[in-house]
């Protein structure tokens, strides 16, 4: 019983609950507001911010969980988004791996690069499982818009990810 309470109170459970909210925003408001016909990817941004804040392994784990949840609302094969977002989270963490105390602008650069790569990973993964046809010139426009939107939203999402995955000490 104590173990169950510990799990329920853990930061990973908090992550799942916050991801439900992020996912609901992705499927409603961000699926409708499409600058230049491109949907902003807040789930990707969330995962990349976790990677930039907490490093490779936490980024990868958060990406795998978020991707698995995202997969259930997409029409692509379940598990594909999980691997892609896991890789994107790990990429963000890896970009800051060699910096002991990365500054705010370093994190933003890492988020920019990881967002771009994360958006490119998806059609690549689709092509690998036989869902071809998405690797075309439009990918450049999609990546550019996603990067710009992520860059604008990154300061807010960085704060949210920090709150979500922070370790809380028990008061008792």
């Amino acid at each position: 019983m104590n173990r169950l309470i510990l799990v329920m109170a853990s930061r990973w459970m908090r992550l799942v609950l916050v991801l439900f909210i992020v996912l609901s925003l992705q499927t409603t408001v961000f699926a409708q507001l499409r600058p230049f016909g491109v949907a902003a990817q807040v789930v990707l941004l969330f995962v990349v911010c976790v990677g930039a804040n907490y490093g490779v392994s936490v980024g990868a784990l958060a990406g795998l969980i978020a991707g698995l949840m995202y997969d259930f609302v997409l029409t692509t094969p379940v598990g594909l988004g999980s691997l892609v977002l896991g890789l994107a989270g790990a990429t963000a963490g890896l970009l800051l791996y060699f910096f002991h105390n990365p500054t705010w602008w370093m994190r933003l650069v890492a988020i920019t690069i990881a967002s771009a790569l994360g958006e490119i990973y998806f059609p690549l993964a689709q092509a690998m499982v036989g869902l071809e046809g998405w690797l075309q010139l439009r990918l450049i426009k999609v990546t550019a818009v996603v990067v710009v939107v992520n860059l604008v939203l990154a300061p807010l999402v960085l704060v949210i990810t920090r709150w979500t995955l922070s370790e809380r000490r028990s008061t008792t």
């Binding site: 996912l23 016909g37 949907a39 795998l64 594909l80 046809g133 998405w134």
Partner: protein, 357 residues
């Protein structure tokens, strides 16, 4: 710290392996994965509904800012077009009714005989790499996977996922979309033979169409026309003309080589920024050169997911290929996929999928 790192690493490996297994199962249409999807949808749907209600003002503001001018322009343009189309619509409706009556008389399937469900678009795809939309009708309304979806203009896509009260529609432009279609090429010569009936009381209602009789052998009451049969399996023998109570009437009997020629192919989506293409069109002599602007309709058939003769679009470009591969046709869709609101799902299932009770 080291223990936490090891646990995390194990969790990553476990999740990655689970993802790979799920991909494999889902690509083989496993019912277990469908069950998981439904379960997740049950949990997630209330949260999404709340988010939709909360964020609707934001969406409306965004659309108001970004689309205001274009909507004003479109509104005035559409008013003008509505005025132009009013007359044409009445004539077209009469033609459609006549066509449906003729098809029904001959026992041929028509779209009017297929039940349909009207649905509203409630969401777009959250991903940039799938061309899908969500509609507010599901299995409760009789919708099943594979059913064709239309708007007022023509075919829009097909149902790919069905839940109790909503469904996911894959649009024609999705690279995974494929459907058997017909390209209706007009005849090479546009001339037709006119048969005149000057005295319907004495005229025989049956006009024999005999290929041995020359066209200039026409009598004042009955005319026979020369016909060269080139359509395999079609032998013109007797044409019945309806007797009309009033004076002179005429009917056009096109010769066999002047009938529209249909050739089948497969339409495939290529993403939102490129027009769909049709491949596997037979490069036969009989079919002739495909002209830009000719209509494309669904082919139908016992295995096709869509009934025949739903309008899809017109040929926008013909890309010739060397050898016997046949041309590739680029298609200008009649339906505007960027602006979908109300759709019609045809509750059609091919004969091969219908189960006997």
């Amino acid at each position: 710290m080291a223990a936490a790192s090891t646990t995390r690493r194990r969790a990553i490996i476990l999740l990655a392996l689970t993802s790979i297994i799920l991909i494999t199962l889902d690509l083989q249409n496993s019912s277990a994965v469908s069950g998981l999807r439904s379960l997740f949808a049950t949990v997630f749907r209330p949260i999404e509904s709340v988010a939709r209600v909360i964020t609707r003002p934001l969406e409306n503001t965004w659309h108001g800012i970004t689309n205001y001018n274009s909507i004003l322009d479109e509104n005035s343009r559409l008013r003008e077009r509505v005025a132009q189309q009013k007359g044409a619509t009445i004539a077209a409706a009469a033609s459609v009714r006549l066509s449906q009556e003729l098809l029904a008389l001959n026992g041929l399937p028509t779209l009017a005989g297929i039940n349909a469900v009207t649905a509203q678009v409630i969401g777009d795809s959250p991903s940039n790499f799938s061309q899908t939309i969500e509609i507010n009708q599901g299995s409760v309304s009789g919708i099943r996977v594979g059913m064709p979806v239309l708007n007022a203009a023509g075919l829009v896509g097909k149902i790919t996922k069905v839940y109790a009260d909503r469904s996911v529609v894959m649009l024609i432009t999705d690279p995974d979309f494929a459907l058997s279609v017909k390209v209706v090429n007009p005849p090479r010569n546009s001339t037709s033979t006119t048969v005149s009936l000057s005295n319907p009381a004495t005229a025989s209602p049956v006009v024999p169409v005999d290929s041995s009789v020359a066209p200039n052998a026409a009598s004042p009451t009955t005319t026979t026309s020369t016909t060269t049969t080139t359509i395999a399996g079609f032998t013109p023998s007797v044409t019945t003309l309806p007797a009309t109570p009033t004076g002179v009437s005429s009917i056009n009997i096109p010769a066999a080589d002047q009938l529209a020629v249909r050739e089948t192919g497969v339409i495939e989506g290529r993403g939102p920024s490129r027009q769909p293409t049709i491949r596997f069109v037979d490069n036969s002599l009989r079919f002739g050169d495909i002209q830009v602007g000719v209509p494309i309709v669904t082919a139908g058939g016992s295995r096709s997911l869509a009934p025949p003769d739903i309008l899809i679009g017109t040929v926008a470009r013909v890309v010739e290929r060397l050898g016997s591969a046949g041309p590739v046709l680029e298609v200008e869709l009649v339906a505007d996929l960027s602006n979908l609101s109300f759709l019609r799902v045809l509750l059609y299932r091919p004969i091969t999928e219908k189960t006997t009770p």
